[in-house]
């Protein structure tokens, strides 16, 4: 299995706030990984570093076996053609309609005809329960609807790596289950690599095989999703049980 993301001795901090401290980490092809951790522990920054949106202070980050620090802007753009991403803030384009947002990655590939794109977009929007909202502008959607549009857009071009930052934030339990089913089916069909950031431990345990927990610069848990409840680290122990007493 080839490596999709490879961090070698990566360190990064904002002013005095250490996000990653000499972290080495590898995510391989077809893996399903979740990243968990308390608020502001650096989950979103970690994935932004992984796709070259933030350049780390030290260390080497490789994406699809290509070291990013040796890439030109154009090469980096080429690498990102194989990534789909849901940003925590949605990052939907408000100068386009809902359907155009979802169609955007396909149009950029310029492979499919408009007819086929339209068909795929409506299938995708139906899958996230937004079939009837395709003509609406982004500003007319609720927070949860925007999140689902972001999910639809992230996966539509069947990228080799899909990253979902908080896919279930603001969604009700039923919609959340449907979304995870969709992610799961996508992954089974296309065998791509999926990274999910979320605090919904229960859903993550069902969907992902591996969990990673960054905390104060270190990776304090990196192992199987099933065994995380056996972890002795007091921070991990407290976090996954949601207890109020403890080091957090």
């Amino acid at each position: 299995m080839s490596s999709v993301i490879h961090f070698q001795n990566v360190s990064h901090k904002f002013k005095n706030h250490t996000i990653l401290n000499d972290v080495t980490l590898q995510i391989k092809d077809t893996e399903k990984v979740s990243i968990i951790g308390p608020a502001a522990c650096g989950k979103s920054v970690l994935i932004k570093i992984a796709c070259g949106l933030i350049v780390p202070d030290q260390g080497t980050v490789s994406l699809f076996d290509t070291p990013l620090n040796q890439c030109s802007e154009t090469e980096l753009t080429d690498l990102r053609k194989d990534i789909g991403m849901l940003f925590q803030s949605g990052a939907l384009f408000d100068f386009m309609s809902t359907a155009d947002n979802v169609a955007f990655p396909l149009r950029q590939q310029a492979i499919l005809s408009e007819d086929i794109i339209a068909k795929k977009v409506s299938e995708r929007l139906d899958a996230v329960g937004l079939g009837s909202s395709s003509a609406l502008p982004i500003s007319a959607l609720s927070g949860g609807m925007q999140r689902r549009v972001g999910i639809a857009r992230a996966g539509i071009a069947l990228p080799k790596l899909v990253i979902y930052d908080e896919p279930s934030a603001g969604l009700d339990p039923v919609t959340t289950s449907k979304i995870y089913d969709l992610l799961s089916n996508d992954q089974k069909e296309h065998l791509n690599t999926v990274i999910v950031i979320s605090s919904d431990i229960e859903s993550l345990q069902k969907f992902t095989d591996r969990m990673i927990m960054p905390y104060h610069g270190d990776i304090i848990y990196d192992g199987s999703s099933d065994k995380i409840f056996d972890c002795k680290n007091p921070i991990v122990h407290q976090f996954i049980r949601g207890e109020t007493q403890g080091p957090l």
Binding site: L53, E73, R80, I83, M85, F87, A91, L92, F93
Partner: protein
């Protein structure tokens, strides 16, 4: 006191040099995506049409009344010395070479430049620029370069139209206020002015367009603190482009004289 004003001056100079450096980098990036030329003609026309459409009324209005002001200001002198023969030349000369391009550029900066900074700023703070990058789109190629070209292009067109309106206005005002004949104005204008005077103004308008486009895009993409930052950036963009316009004007007037 002296020390603090020194350090303030130092801060300002440092900041200005930093911004100028970043704008130079932006120029490099725009050149990078422009070789070979990949400008989408439809996109360019669409943006140009939108920008020209947005600012035409305000520019036409200013051009018309500025010409009126010129005539009013000169009226005492013209009447006193019966200097009607130079009215066409004097207004044409100042409108073509100086007042036309600079007034129109300042209006354009307030209307289109500020709008562009706010738009890009809102996109930056809502992560849409990162969103484009993550979808393998180069924001410079997709968002910035077309806007820069469209702004330069539309300011050029608007300057031409604006100066035309101002000249017509000056003619009208000189007939009404100075009791001049249409022919006197016309002769004075066309017998004494050369195409070079007009070209002088258009060269300036291109330089001003570049200044407005670069500053407004730069400040739009470099927003630091959320919605408040958008306000600060729009402000900084308008002030910086006004300064850039005046400086460019000075050096171009010097070089083209």
């Amino acid at each position: 006191m002296i020390k603090s004003s020194h350090s303030y001056l130092f801060q300002i100079t440092k900041r200005m040099m930093q911004e100028t450096g970043e704008i130079a980098l932006l120029i490099g990036q725009i050149i990078r995506v422009s070789i070979p030329p990949r400008v989408d003609r439809n996109e360019l026309l669409k943006h140009t049409y939108r920008m020209a459409n947005m600012s035409l009324p305000i520019i036409a209005l200013t051009a018309f009344f500025v010409s009126g002001i010129l005539i009013l200001q000169s009226s005492t002198f013209v009447k006193q010395f019966d200097a009607k023969a130079i009215v066409g030349w004097a207004t044409g000369f100042s409108l073509f070479r100086e007042i036309g391009p600079i007034m129109i550029a300042l209006m354009f900066s307030g209307r289109i430049g500020a709008n562009n900074t706010a738009e890009l700023g809102a996109m930056t703070i809502t992560n849409q620029i990162d969103g484009l990058k993550a979808l393998a789109i180069d924001p410079i190629e997709y968002l910035i370069a077309p806007r820069v070209y469209a702004m330069v292009f539309s300011l050029f067109i608007l300057t031409t139209i604006g100066i035309g309106i101002a000249i017509l206005g000056a003619m009208l005002f000189s007939i009404v206020i100075l009791d001049m004949s249409y022919l006197t104005f016309y002769r004075s204008l066309f017998d004494n002015l050369y195409p070079a005077d007009f070209i002088h103004g258009l060269v300036k308008s291109i330089a001003f367009g570049i200044a407005i486009a670069l500053t407004s895009c730069h400040f739009g993409m470099n927003i630091r603190q959320g919605a408040i930052g958008v306000g600060h950036s729009v402000n900084a963009a308008v002030v910086s482009s006004a300064i850039a316009i005046i400086l460019f004007d000075f050096f171009l007037t010097y070089m083209l004289a």
